[in-house]
Every structure is written in C-alpha cells, then in structure tokens.
Symmetry: D2
Subunit: 434 residues, 4 copies
Amino acid sequence: MRAIFSDAYLLECMLRFELSLARALGKAGIAPPSAVTAVQNARAGQFNFEELAAQAKLAGNLAIPFVKALTSLAENVDREGAKFVHWGATSQDVQDTALVLQLRDALAQFDSDLSKLCDALARLAEKHATTYLAGRTWLQQGSPVTFGLKAAGWLSAIERHRARLAATAKRVEVLQFGGSVGTLAALGPLGPEVSRALADDLKLRVPDMPWHTQRDAIAEVGTNLGLLTGTLAKIARDVSLLMQTEVGEAFEPAEPGRGGSSIMPHKRNPVESAAILAAGLRVPGLVSTMLAAMVQEHERGLGGWHAEWETLPEICLLASGALRHTITMIAGLEIDKDRMRRNLELTHGLIFAEAVSAALAQHLGRAAAHELVEAASLRAIQKKQHLRAALLEDPQAARLLPAGKLDQLFRPENYVGSAGQFVEQVISRRGSKP
Amino acid sequence: MRAIFSDAYLLECMLRFELSLARALGKAGIAPPSAVTAVQNARAGQFNFEELAAQAKLAGNLAIPFVKALTSLAENVDREGAKFVHWGATSQDVQDTALVLQLRDALAQFDSDLSKLCDALARLAEKHATTYLAGRTWLQQGSPVTFGLKAAGWLSAIERHRARLAATAKRVEVLQFGGSVGTLAALGPLGPEVSRALADDLKLRVPDMPWHTQRDAIAEVGTNLGLLTGTLAKIARDVSLLMQTEVGEAFEPAEPGRGGSSIMPHKRNPVESAAILAAGLRVPGLVSTMLAAMVQEHERGLGGWHAEWETLPEICLLASGALRHTITMIAGLEIDKDRMRRNLELTHGLIFAEAVSAALAQHLGRAAAHELVEAASLRAIQKKQHLRAALLEDPQAARLLPAGKLDQLFRPENYVGSAGQFVEQVISRRGSKP
Amino acid sequence: MRAIFSDAYLLECMLRFELSLARALGKAGIAPPSAVTAVQNARAGQFNFEELAAQAKLAGNLAIPFVKALTSLAENVDREGAKFVHWGATSQDVQDTALVLQLRDALAQFDSDLSKLCDALARLAEKHATTYLAGRTWLQQGSPVTFGLKAAGWLSAIERHRARLAATAKRVEVLQFGGSVGTLAALGPLGPEVSRALADDLKLRVPDMPWHTQRDAIAEVGTNLGLLTGTLAKIARDVSLLMQTEVGEAFEPAEPGRGGSSIMPHKRNPVESAAILAAGLRVPGLVSTMLAAMVQEHERGLGGWHAEWETLPEICLLASGALRHTITMIAGLEIDKDRMRRNLELTHGLIFAEAVSAALAQHLGRAAAHELVEAASLRAIQKKQHLRAALLEDPQAARLLPAGKLDQLFRPENYVGSAGQFVEQVISRRGSKP
Amino acid sequence: MRAIFSDAYLLECMLRFELSLARALGKAGIAPPSAVTAVQNARAGQFNFEELAAQAKLAGNLAIPFVKALTSLAENVDREGAKFVHWGATSQDVQDTALVLQLRDALAQFDSDLSKLCDALARLAEKHATTYLAGRTWLQQGSPVTFGLKAAGWLSAIERHRARLAATAKRVEVLQFGGSVGTLAALGPLGPEVSRALADDLKLRVPDMPWHTQRDAIAEVGTNLGLLTGTLAKIARDVSLLMQTEVGEAFEPAEPGRGGSSIMPHKRNPVESAAILAAGLRVPGLVSTMLAAMVQEHERGLGGWHAEWETLPEICLLASGALRHTITMIAGLEIDKDRMRRNLELTHGLIFAEAVSAALAQHLGRAAAHELVEAASLRAIQKKQHLRAALLEDPQAARLLPAGKLDQLFRPENYVGSAGQFVEQVISRRGSKP
C-alpha cells in the first residue's frame, strides 16, 4: 500500500493519464501521432518530486509544475508533439484520475487481503466450533459460547466489508476529464469522443459528466474503509482482552523481538492489537475530514479538494496496515483451551445461571425463574458456595431440577444453543451478498 | 423523521418485536397461544417513557424496565401467557430490532424524498440547459458553463446516494435475535426456527448469525447519510454563494417571515442554505462517533452500543432535515438570467481567455498560446481594456484570429463544449446503477 | 445541567439580556424609564417555545420571533416603552449573551462537581496508599503499584481540568453586543457607554470589541470539556477492566435495580462505566464540530453559528453526565484487596521479574541482567515453576541473590518505589496551578 | 516545524534524555561517571532510522530498538558505563520526554509566529481604520463597517490564542519519568532525587507524579492548536470571499508562479487561502483523535498512546503551515478601496436601510421604523430605484427625514458607530490577558 501511495507511483499514474490523453487526442484527430511520441518515454524517475512539491505550494497543486516539467521533457523529444501535452485537460483531471488509478490498485489489494483474512477466520471458526469459553457481556462473564462463534462473528462482518468495497470500486473507478470548468470546451464537439478513448485506454468507466466537485465516490472509499477499520479494531480489542494476564485464553503469535519490554523481562505485549487499535482510533477522525471536505464550491473548490490529498491515502494506509496486522494476528493466533475451561469455572457455576433459569422457566415462567435463580446466585456469592449447591438448598428448585438434570445444566456444551449452526451458516454462505 | 425517532414510535417498534416473538414462540410450540393474547393489546401509550428512561439509567438500557413493565401489563391480561414475555431474547435483541424497524421506515422516507429532489433537479437541469453563467474555480471566474450543467452535477451525485442507500437498506433490514450471548441457548435446538418465524412476522431478513457486536451495517447507515449530507451542503454552499449581494444569480424561494433580519429591514437571508450547511458541519463528527463506537467488546460491548443510541437518530434527523430544506430550496429556486449574463461581462473578456487560448493553441501549441493570452490578459488588466482589444494589439494574435473569428470566441454559447450532452446523459440515465 | 440548557432557562437568559439592555439604554438617556417597565415583568412562561421554534425555522434564528413576541407583550404594558425593545441589538447579541449566561452557570456547576470528585479521589488515594495490586501495561501485568497511586493519577488530571476550566470561564464570561455588523452604529456615539452598563447589569466583562464571528472562546468550552471527558473515560475504562469477572479487584457501587440483566440473573454490570465510556466516545466528534464551525464568514456567518446551537449544550450535558456518574462511581467504589493480592500471585513471580532484574543490574549492568531474567522467566513459564525457583537454578543469579535477599524481591511492598511520595505530592499540592 | 518533527530531531531529543539521565544517575551516586562518557558522544546521525522503525513495528515502540542501539554504541566507548544506559526508565519515559522537548520548541515557534501575525494584523487594522466596506452577514450586505474593524476582529482572536498557548506551554513542558509502571521502583528511594536532577538538566518542570496514561496536557496542545486553526481558516474564508471576481476588494499578494491555472491564463487563485482552509478542514478530525486517544488503560495503555504518535505532529505541522500562510497573506494583502466604495453602492442605498431605520426609530419606535423601511426597501427593489428616492415618496419618512438629513444617512462614515474605538481598544490592549 505504501508503494501505491508513494510519490513515484503517483507520478507514474499522472504520466499514464497524459500518455493515454495523447493517444485519445490522436484517435480523435486533434493531435498528431508525435504527441504520443513526445511523452511516451517519460518516466517518473525523471521528475524531481521535492522540487515539484515546492512549486506546487506556490501554484496551488502538483499538476501545474508537473505539466510544465513534462512539457519540457516532451519538447526535447518532439517539439511539435509537445504542443499537445495536457491538451484540453485541467490540473484536477490528471490528479483525480491518477488518484482513481491508485485507488483501483488499492482496492484490488484490499480485496485480496480481505480474502486471506476471511480464509484464516473461516479456518479458525471451523477448528474451534466446539471450543468452549465464557461469553462476555459488559466485560462480565455471561453464558458460555464457542470460540468458533466468536470467529464466525468477525468473519461475517469482514465478508460484508468485501461486498461493500466491491460496490465502491464500481462507483469510483471512473475517469475524471472535464477541462477547466467541466465542459471540455477546449475540445469543441469532440469532448465525449476523447473521453471515451481516454477511459478505454486507462480501462476506466466514463462518467455521465465530470465530477470535479462531486466527491461522494471518493469520500465513500474513506467511509467504507472506516467501517472496515472499525471491525478490525473490534477484533483486536477482543484478542487483547483475551490476552490479559488474568484471562490468558488467546495470544498473538510469538516471535523473537516481538512485544518485549525495555524494562520488564517477562512481558509479551499484544503489539499487533496495539497497532490495529491505534488505527481504529485514528481513522474515524480522518473519515470526518473526508466528509467535511465534500463541500467544494462551484466548478472547482477551495480547500476541500486540498484537504483530501493526504487524508485519503492516510486512511488507505492505516486501514491496510490494520488489515495486515489482523491477518498476521489471526493466522498465528494461539488458543489456550485449558484456560478457557478453567475460566468457565471461575464463577463457581454462576455462568450457568441463565441455563438454570431457562430450565426453570419452563415450569415457572421467565420472571419467576429469573427471581429464583437471582436469589440463589446471591446466596452462592455470600456463602462462597457453588451455584449448584445453592440451588439444591432451594426446595422448589431441587424438586424441579433433580441432581442428574442439574448436572447437565452446568456443562458448557449443553448451553451453546445454535452456535454450531450459526458458524456453519456463516462459513457456507461466504461470498453471497449482501 | 421526528415521528420515526420519537419515544412513542420506539416503544411501538419494541412492542412489535415482543408480539412477533410471542407468535414465533407459539408456532415453534414453546409458548401457548395465551402468550400472544397477553401482549397483543399493549400499546405504546400505556408506558411512561420518562419513568422508563429514569430506570434505564440504573439498569443500563431501556429494554430492562420496558420488559418489566410489559410483563406487568401482560400479567393483567393472562398470567400464564405473561410468563413467556421476551422469552429467549436479550435486551439488545429488542432494542436493535426496534432500531432496524425505525431505520426501515427512515430509509423508505429518504428514498421517497431523494426521488422528489431528483425530479426537481432534473427539471432545473433541463430548463436551464442553455442558461449561461460564469464557471467558477477557486471562487474565481474561470470559463462559462450552463446552469443546467451545475444542476446536473448535483443530480448525478444525488442519484448515486439513492443507489448507496438502497444497498444499505438490504444490509441493515435484518433481524437481531441471539439471546444473552448470541447463541439462542435458551431456546435449545429451536433457535433458528423461532428466528425464521420472528423475522417473517416482522418482514425482516434472517442473518447468518446474531450481530450484537458487529455494528458495520448500523454504522453504514451513518456513513452513507454522511455522504449524502456532504452533497447537500455542497449544493447549499453553491446556492448561498450565488445569492451573495455581489453575485445575485440565484435565490432561495421568498416567503413572508422567511430570512428576515431583526435589525436590517432590507435583508433576505439564505435560511435554507444556513440550515443545510449547519447539518453539513454537524454530521461528519457524528459519523466519526458511529465509527469509533464500532469497537464493541466480546459478545456485547461496554459503552459503544450506548454511544449509538442518540447519535444515529441525530444523523437521520439532520440528514433528513437537510434533505427537506434542499427540496424546498431547489423546487422554488429563482434564477436571474440577466444577472448571470452581466456577471459574465464583469471581467471585460477575461473569462474567455481560455477560449482564446484554445483557439490559438491549434496554431501555436498549448504552452505558447497560454503564454500569449496570459500576457494579453495582464495588459488588459493594467490598461483597463477589454481582452479583445488587448489581443488585437498583439500582431501574432491579430493575424491568427481576425476580428470576426475573435468575436465568436467571446460568446458563452460558443464555449460550453459538451455541457449540453452531459446534462442529457445525466438525465437520461437516471436510476441506472451504480 | 439539563435545567441550565432547558428551553425555559434559555428564554429566561434572553429576557435578562433584554431587560438589562432596557436599563442600560435608560442610563445612557436613549430610552425612557418606561422601556424598563415594558419588559421587566415578562417571564419565560409567557412564551410558547414550540411556536417560537417553528417560526425560528423560517426566520433563521430564535431571536427574531422572540423579540417579536416580547415586543407584543411589552406593548400591552407600555406602548411607548415597547418601542425600545432590543434597541441597537442584533439577534446574535441576545442569543450569544444568553448562551454566555448559561455557560457561566454550567461552568460554576462543573467547578463544584469537580471539587467533589477531587475530594473523593483524594480520599481514595489516601486510603489506599499501601493497597498493592498489579500495575498493568499493554493490558499485561507489569510490576506492582498501589491503588493509591492509580487514584492519585486520576486526581492529578482532574485538578488540571479545574484549572483549565477556570481560565476558560474568564475568557468566555463576556458580553456580546455589537448590533447588526458589530459596530453598534444604531447607538451613534453611545455604543461603549451602553455596552458597559449592560455588561455591569449582567455582571459580565466588556470585550474589546464584539466577537460575533470570533468563536474561539465558545469553542474552547467545548475543547476543554472534551479533555475532561477524555480523563473521565480513562477512569471508567480502568474501573471496568478492574471489574471484569477474571480480575474482580474493584466494583462500582451496588444498588437494587442497578446493572442487572434481562436474562442473566447473576450479572452485575458496570453501568456507570458504560455511561461514561459512551460520553467518551461521543464528545470527540462533537468537539470536532465546534472547531469546524469556527469558520464563520465576515461579520456574521452562514451555518457555522447554527451548528453550535445544539452541539455545545450536548457537550455540556454529556460531560456533566459523565462527571456525575464518575462521582457516584468513585464515591462508592468497592475495593477487593484480597483479590488484588491473589492476582499479584497469578504469574508465579513473573510480576517481580523487573524487581529481580533491577537487583541484578547493580552487579551485571542493565542489559545483562535483563537477559538473565528474561531467560529465567521463559524457563519458569515452560516448566510451570515459580520465577524464584527458576532463578535459584541459575548459578550466577543464585550467587548474587542468596535466598533471603531473593525473598525480599518477591514482596510488592518492596517494589513500589516512590509511589507513596507521589501520592502525597499530588494530594498536598491540590489547587496549585498549573 | 518540519525540522522539529523530523526523525533526526526526535532521535536527538531522545539522546538528550538518555544523556541527562546518565548525569542524573551519576549525581545520585547510582551510576559511575563513565555512564556519561559512554553516551555523551552519541549523535542522531549514528542511528539508522529506517531500521529502528522496522524494529519498532515488532517491538511495539521506537524506544526499545533505540535503547538497544544506543547501548551498543555505548559499549564501544565504555563497557562499564554502558551498563547504566536507560537505567530505571521505561520506553515511554524517553519517548514522552522527547515529545515534550519537541513541543517546547514548537510552542516557542508558534509564539514567535503569532507575534509576527499580530503585528501584521495590528498594522492592517490601524491603516484601514477608516477604510469603508460593506459589512456582510449571511453572505448578504448588511450595513457598512471598516476594514480596520475586520482586521481587529481577527487580531483579537489571535491574541487570545497566544495567551492560551502560553498557558498550555506551562502545563506541558514537564518531565516524564516513572519507570515501567510509574513508581520509579528500580531506583529504590532515589527516584525523586534522580527526577529532579534529570528535569533540571533538561530545563523541564518535575510533575507531582508520572503521567504515562494521563494525556490531558498532551491532548491540550492539540485542542488549542485546533482553536487556532479555526481562527486562521476564518480569516482565509473572509479573504477568499473578498477576493471573488464579483467582490474584488482584497487580494492575496501576487508573485510569479503563484496561483496560476494550467489552462486558464487569466486566473489568479487564492492559493494561501486554499492551504489554510484545507488545514481548517483537516485539524478538527485530528483533534477528535487526540481526545479519543486519551482513554489509555491502567499504567500504560494499548493503542491510545500509539494513536498520538503521528497525530499530534500532524496537527502541529498543519497549524504551523496555516499560520505561516496567514502571515504571508496578511503581510502582503492588497486592498482595493475603490472597489469597496463601489460595492457599497451596489444595493442602491439598501445597505443604509438600517441607518435610516435607526434614525426613524427615534421618532416611531424600533418596530414601526423597521416596517416603514422594509416597505420602502421593497418598493425600491421593485421599481429599481434608490432607497433614498423610495423614502422620499413616503410622506411620513419625508417629513421626519428632510433631504439634507437623509443624505447624511447614506454615507458609510456616518454609520460605523464605535468601529474606530473598537479598533483602538483591540490594539492598545494587545498582550493583556485573558
């Protein structure tokens, strides 16, 4: 992703636009064949990016000094052809189209990485379809779940992100070409013809009209990556909580040099989680910038477009970094089933209170059963006894739930309901939309 | 939209969930028919929302006191049936599903309003396909455009928002039903059967698994409304700039009591624009909250879910308000064609500098033509003459562009390129995706 | 805080402005005494807020219909005096000054609440100056700390927030009075005299000039409450993590009806923490809105001012709610010292690895000691033995740290360094700035 | 500012911390003099930042590989002294203190730049104390103001920002030194003594206790720069609006290569404004990240600290860039007084409607005068006549305001009220707080 949003690749994409434009102008009979000759050998390495950036500060954008420099290069090759460099285009045409080309590569990489993550998550979900651990709500142990269900939950969200980003790709992979105010006036009646040829050459869609100050598709890349990063941060939060010293149920993959402390020799820190969570904290603010920047004036705006330049690449880099960290983390995740089992016993049976309540409810109704078990739970806590014992002391409970039946209620495998079917559904329907 | 997100309607949606649940439990043979009888006559008006809200503060959510109150009501009707109120469900099941029902209504209203706005914009674009005005970039007059093109640009973005929100509706209109930790354990093996019946009754889709802490579809409503609001604010910025005293080309509809000043008797303020722009400033921050709130822990989170409760309705209200204001503004927009024409003459021909440059470029190449016209423009400014006169003083220009030809270059209708075709394309392809 | 930002109190503050203005105009000889008579008996209750709000939508702000309604009321009292209602003022003068009056009350309440929280935190820090628990970094047990130190850290931040908000109060408690464009032109040469009298009557400072579109002091209320909420959320995050089933070291105060679950009878949820964390998620986005809204055009802006109206009160309410929840939580916080002790033993001595490393470093240097203890820690984990045992197996360690000395290193009270002095310093320097 | 936040300078600041620490350990008798010798010749240039950054990704922060590399260097100089490198400190101690050293430099530069901007604004305000132009509210001409008043408004806000940032500097320029969990346990009883010596050597204040997870002062740098950027963007919005083709009252300084267009030869674009407005769009989102990142767990957090690393420098760079652009823009701002005068006449007298209304109000009361002038204004618009003429047609107005008096009302210099005194006050009270 860093390569895609590097200065060099940006220049390369800008060059691609100008070369394709020269070809399209030639096809339309506007420019001579030498217009292509003049620019086709220009390479990103021939430009001094630092210098262009300095000039851009004065000029207001990168395209102005870039076109100037490209024209110089072209003049050295073919003076006649060089006259047609950037013909009919405005600065934003080349910058926006270059961005679109970068985003096309970025979205392809996201799709490929998401596919890898989905595979890793599906493996995890399948493998741990019957690995039992405490379900936790409000950071408190509630009732048991399976680790497979947890992984399937992550997977289901990631699958939706793939579908969303695929739809975004369709909307955003589109040519920008409108000339100074979006009319292509400099091309006379040939604007649409040149547009079509230019788009074909770049393998982009032709829009119904230029979109210089209609930034919805560009901003949508930001919002959908924002949604993705939110899910990734949720996964990292879960893993880092499971990795706490006092929980110890799952661990990021270990590796020499990973997660050490400069002062505490025994530490193994969740470094992947930290990086993902940091992205989760940073992306929402950047997305709000993309939305705020949509308010671009008239035919081309003042400040809004400029605010996008570094913000969208930053979102792409953060989301992509978080995604890669998540793949590493999930692919190498270590699970401690024994600790999960032991943690299920931490509450001396209270984690099965709902299971007992559900069983009693069939006799007493939901509310009365809830009250009975709540009271028994309280007694168990006060007397430091197991919930099973506290229940047996209650005549009504003892009658309705004889010891054998009661024992069954305190087994996690007997109280995970449809977890198995849910996992199966998520895995088997992978790739179906929405 | 206020009605949809009112306390009363929220309660009504929660009641609908509980009634459909009672029916579904009946179908599955878990609850007796009296479970339906017990709750089917409960009405939102029977609940004291203030009191529920006060209890919710202690309980941690609205559903707990609501279920308690509903159970009381149900017990008065049928003590046996009342035992099955909320059976198998958790607080978040009823709250999330109620939210989904509200969002379904909200998205339907958005779609209908967007359709109205599109119609109004299409009329505007058609009517003004040959209404000429200054195209403006960086808040400076650039080259001429048509007002139809400006309206078509707005329209094209709004059409894309419709498509986006339609896709969102498919993803978000889905049942939430998982029980305490998402396993539906309290229903034993009947979870999926009850889910299916419940969803059918509510006309919602059944998800592959519960999504208590997978908030991507919920947050997506926020991000896509954020994108919409960005476009609406762009329209309002454009209109308010056109409405400036010094520009005076377009005006919000006038009405007694609208846009007055408490102290300046002559003022006619852009009050619709102000409201829309205010929404444009507020929604991005709220969207960032929705994204940040996605990091919800384990099976049910701590704080993140709570942060959504007021934020997403606020986004819906602001976006919907902005949309309604835009419809009013666009449907009654007054256009002053004369002022547009006069403003095209403000620069004494400079607005046609690019037109001249394009004409000369066919002889001199793009760069040389640009330089010649830049110099002529500078002279025109310094000598306070018309660009036409300055050009005639340049021997090269005078030779290449004889007076008759030059005159043609200073007419806006001769330099709007493909504007007409763009407008046509946007209008004729309405409704096609993406 | 809800009372301060209620519709009724807003109207009352607006009335106070108009009454003080009438008095000031009288003093300056502009208005007759009847101007005061005409408005002095007007009460908030006489206005229909719903109706005003509806008219405000058309008019663009609340002040316009308010002044109209007040003038009507005044005319019923004294037709001559009524002529001077709102004389020389613009809508924003009355709305901004009313907001300032509300903020003055709000900031006073914040100060008083912060003082209560500081007292509670200081008590907690003192009481637990020698209560030992695991220090945690990256959510992993590191080395021991005292609970007093944790509380002192919270306290030190809250003390700084008090200082910050006191400085903000000085900057924001200032009159807004400029007339339509900030010149007070309608008052001829008497502008400053009337300003002074008006400010005196309201006990506000007179600014050097009106600040209609200079919103820094208003936005600063938002940013500083944003900082405060950040600290409160940090406290809530800490408490909720300590309250996890698997940690169980601290608990929010218990109370009937607090923190229950609709389905899990044994649950005791951190409801205060959830509310505070939700505020911590919501306020940052609202603060970004306040900053974005600062870009207000010329003499009075379009949209920016409007965006503040609901945003700043919302920030005040959320911050204040979070503060009240924190006071409740801290004042009733339950500490389980035994569990803290037991958790210190969870790692079989690894939590003292740094203590051992520090002792060895005096002989071996920091890096070599770190390596030795890292290796011993690894062995201890692999062989499931106590770190003490693993160290005794290392000849070099055994030589340098004979058993008696080694034992001392595994006591938390011997490895909390300056924690006691830090707690003392924080408490003794309370109230000193910055 | 780029230099301050460069990789090289960050390393230099980290080295300064380690050297001062060696000295402080020596003073306290913990380390031998050779500890200083070992590190005092290390230079930033000796480190390979790329390599450190790569290792930091695994290690979780930059300090771990940095300390390792520094220890290697030190061992080459003095093996004994090298044993004491980083003694007692944790990674965050060196990174946070290095950040504080960078912020001290940054805040000094901000103060110096703000002083320059204030001087330039004061000059502008003085020079144009009687330069008249249209005051604009809601982007509509309201009543006249002076350009001096506009500049004084900007100045007053910038003065407050200086005061705010000075207070922030006091709070943030403070040592971070706590060891692994903030107790300085590795130093035994000598923690405070070493802290004091370390802080003295770095010329920083000693805090009451370490503040590893109390980020309020760090985040405050972000919020206060957010407020500053808001004001700068307001200035840029004003200037860019004045610079519109249709307004043309003020212009950014011209310079070859500045503000050109790649296609429109006549354009002179507000490039400074664009850069400032872009910063104004980007900083609010970044500030929200700083606030969200404050929620750092326990003794050292997970993700929150990491989220600050690039965000705060980015805020500093954007704010500083915007400030420099504003200085350039203001110092060279061109004012077109003639155009201002002409624009005052654009409304054919309507801009003086309030002046007339104020004059009539002395006879008729505020409301009746307002109505009369509103009606006359409407007639003037409909009949395309001057407001003066429309008023003379009204018998009541004609009687109360005879022609001579009426003429006086249509002169801007007669209706700018206290503008002159306001300008004077702002300038004369520069530097007084708050």
